[in-house]
């Protein structure tokens, strides 16, 4: 763990601090102030990503460091969408997740940049990676709802959390599918095959299949086995974390740009 004594590092720590303040205000029963500070955190997160974009001269989605900056930037808008469209709450946990996501970027991942290699110079680069980033944030939110559901036991609140997690995961699956298919199309354009049996591809497929299993199980039993629904969502999140971080650092992959 090292402190980043750079302008980028300062922006990261500021984003972290603002999100933690927003969390503290929200759990301290000042939700309106919490929302305002949360929105401010989003603005600073955008500034952090924009600064990185300017510094490296290309869209900052190549390195793990950059990926985590973008993930944090997406948390607030997706929070707002979930609240407005489905009345899915739990924004204080979103704030905490955003702050936690910045720990690896702020203290672990190296900041050094690299030029974009030929394979990443494609119009599909941004849509493919962004589809996955949006999906991951949504699935994280669905997982938080699933954990809240398990924590609520058999209370009426548990059913609300279960429905919330299902609705958020639905949009997450659309984006996961989009990311998977865009990646296959890009693989065909860049490497000659829409499927290369690469570790990242196989784990992404496994992620998709786990969520597919969740939706089929829910279609079969509805809310009768709600705890199994929650468990499948949590399993999906575990697979996502390994796909995003574990594969990058532990397994050989053609997607090694990020390590």
């Amino acid at each position: 763990m090292t402190l980043k004594l750079t302008a980028q590092g300062a922006l990261i720590y500021l984003v972290m601090a603002v999100h933690l303040l927003a969390f503290a205000l929200t759990v301290g029963r000042r939700p309106r102030a919490g929302w305002i500070v949360y929105a401010a955190g989003f603005v600073v997160a955008c500034a952090s990503v924009a600064f990185r974009w300017w510094a490296v001269g290309h869209v900052p989605l190549q390195m793990m460091f950059e990926v985590f900056l973008v993930l944090v930037m997406l948390v607030f808008p997706l929070s707002v969408v979930c609240k407005r469209v489905w009345n899915v709450g739990g924004q204080q946990w979103d704030m905490l997740v955003a702050a936690a996501l910045l720990v690896p970027a702020g203290f672990v991942f190296p900041e050094a940049s690299r030029k974009l290699p030929p394979a990443l110079q494609s119009p599909l680069f941004i849509p493919h990676v962004m589809a996955y980033m949006l999906a991951y944030v949504l699935m994280a939110k669905a997982t938080v709802q699933a954990i809240r559901q398990l924590g609520a036991g058999r209370s009426p609140e548990a059913a609300q959390f279960e429905i919330a997690s299902y609705r958020v995961a639905r949009l997450g699956l659309v984006l996961l599918t989009g990311g998977l298919l865009l990646g296959a199309w890009w693989g065909k354009m860049a490497w000659g095959d829409y499927w290369n049996w690469d570790s990242k591809e196989m784990w992404s497929l496994a992620t998709w299949l786990v969520y597919l299993a969740f939706f089929h199980f829910r279609a079969l039993y509805g809310r009768r086995f709600a705890r199994v629904n929650a468990a499948l969502l949590i399993l999906g999140m575990v697979v996502i974390v390994f796909t995003l971080v574990g594969v990058t650092f532990l397994l050989p992959s053609m997607h090694s740009y990020a390590s």
Partner: protein
């Protein structure tokens, strides 16, 4: 499709296929990740084996049988499109797979190449396709001519730091010198592999030599090299027209002879290595005297002709005189792409067809 909202009892057929889908998805998920710990070749080998093909075949069967057996699935356009798409993707993939190509070749004598590589020199033509072991696997029904191959580099900014590389003799390859980049950072000591010498860059400054914007900008580097309690310090100042500076470490070993006997490296300070931005091949495809296609290909911009795709795969790393193309057959590709479109289109349609939840006055969602 939300069973929680459907008050009709579920038929046993629908239950069977849904449960089969759940189990199938989870089993395939596990089978997908296990081979990743063994490497991409192991994963490919498993999934292209009869057992792997059977697993996907069963999955496709479940999707197809579900369409036939479950009326609700057929009545909802989005769900139907998704499942048909899934079947098409698997069918197209199987049709284009090496296994199926071998079967077609054995049964019908079809000699189509599935995938391979071509190595073509500048100004030369070829129709030969090789596998990874450089054994010829067949010939294309046309010739590919390489007009020109070239590499584009990113501009090197004047302030980009110069590189240190350490060079040692590789006894195994007839005494060839092997260089290794040293990942240095100012103020951070770093061990030079494979010896026990430590390099510390104490100061790195840039100086402009001359007047005007085109005057060269060169570094002035203060270094400290230490080993076994002994240390030497120096200032490295490349001059205009001097592409690199070499530094002997003999002083740390007592004598040149001791330095050679220890197989210790020498150090080189050199300008930053330009980073490759792109590499391109200008190709012409001919069938006798008839020109079929002409295109400059690069990574992400292949050439499509005669049922094959040609990709910029690699090149002559020493002299940049030949290009290496990857050749891939398009068998099954349009079926797979059609499946992709139906899969994502069906999913989007299905999700959009859900009613937006209505809120009660109390803010509860229904």
């Amino acid at each position: 499709m939300d069973a929680a909202d459907d008050s009709r009892p579920m038929g046993s057929v629908r239950r069977f296929f849904l449960l089969g889908a759940v189990i199938g998805c989870l089993v395939l998920a596990v089978l997908s990740v296990i081979p990743t710990f063994l490497g991409p070749d192991a994963a490919k080998k498993w999934f292209l084996s009869p057992l792997g093909a059977a697993a996907w075949g069963i999955f496709a069967f479940l999707a197809a049988a579900g369409i036939v057996a479950i009326g609700a699935l057929r009545r909802r356009l989005g769900l139907l499109a998704m499942h048909v798409g899934m079947v098409l993707v698997i069918a197209g993939a199987m049709w284009g797979s090496e296994l199926m190509c071998r079967l077609r070749s054995d049964l019908f004598g079809s000699a189509r190449i599935t995938e391979g590589h071509m190595m073509i020199g500048q100004g030369e033509s070829s129709s030969e396709v090789f596998d990874q072991a450089r054994a010829e696997i067949g010939r294309l029904p046309f010739e590919v001519h390489l007009e020109k191959f070239w590499i584009e580099y990113y501009d090197v900014a004047p302030e980009e730091p110069w590189e240190f590389t350490s060079w040692t003799i590789d006894r195994g390859s007839e005494g060839a010198w092997v260089g290794q980049r040293v990942e240095w950072r100012q103020g951070k000591p770093i061990k030079l592999s494979p010896c026990d010498v430590e390099l510390l860059v104490t100061d790195y400054q840039l100086a402009r030599y001359g007047e005007g914007p085109d005057a060269p900008v060169l570094p002035e580097v203060k270094v400290r090299l230490s080993r076994d309690g002994a240390a030497i310090e120096g200032l490295l100042q490349p001059e205009p027209g001097m592409p690199e500076l070499r530094l002997s470490l003999a002083a740390l070993y007592g004598s040149e002879e001791a330095w050679r006997e220890a197989d210790a490296p020498w150090l080189r300070l050199q300008p930053p290595t330009p980073v490759i931005k792109d590499f391109k091949s200008a190709l012409i495809v001919r069938d006798g005297d008839r020109e079929l296609a002409r295109k400059t290909i690069e990574v992400n911009a292949p050439l499509h002709v005669g049922g094959y795709h040609f990709y910029q795969f690699s090149y002559d790393q020493d002299d940049e005189q030949y290009t290496v193309l990857s050749v891939v057959s398009d068998a099954g590709l349009s079926t797979v792409y059609a499946g992709f479109i139906l899969l994502i289109g069906g999913l989007v349609w299905h999700v959009l067809s859900f009613r937006r939840p209505r809120r009660t006055r109390g803010g509860d969602v229904r």
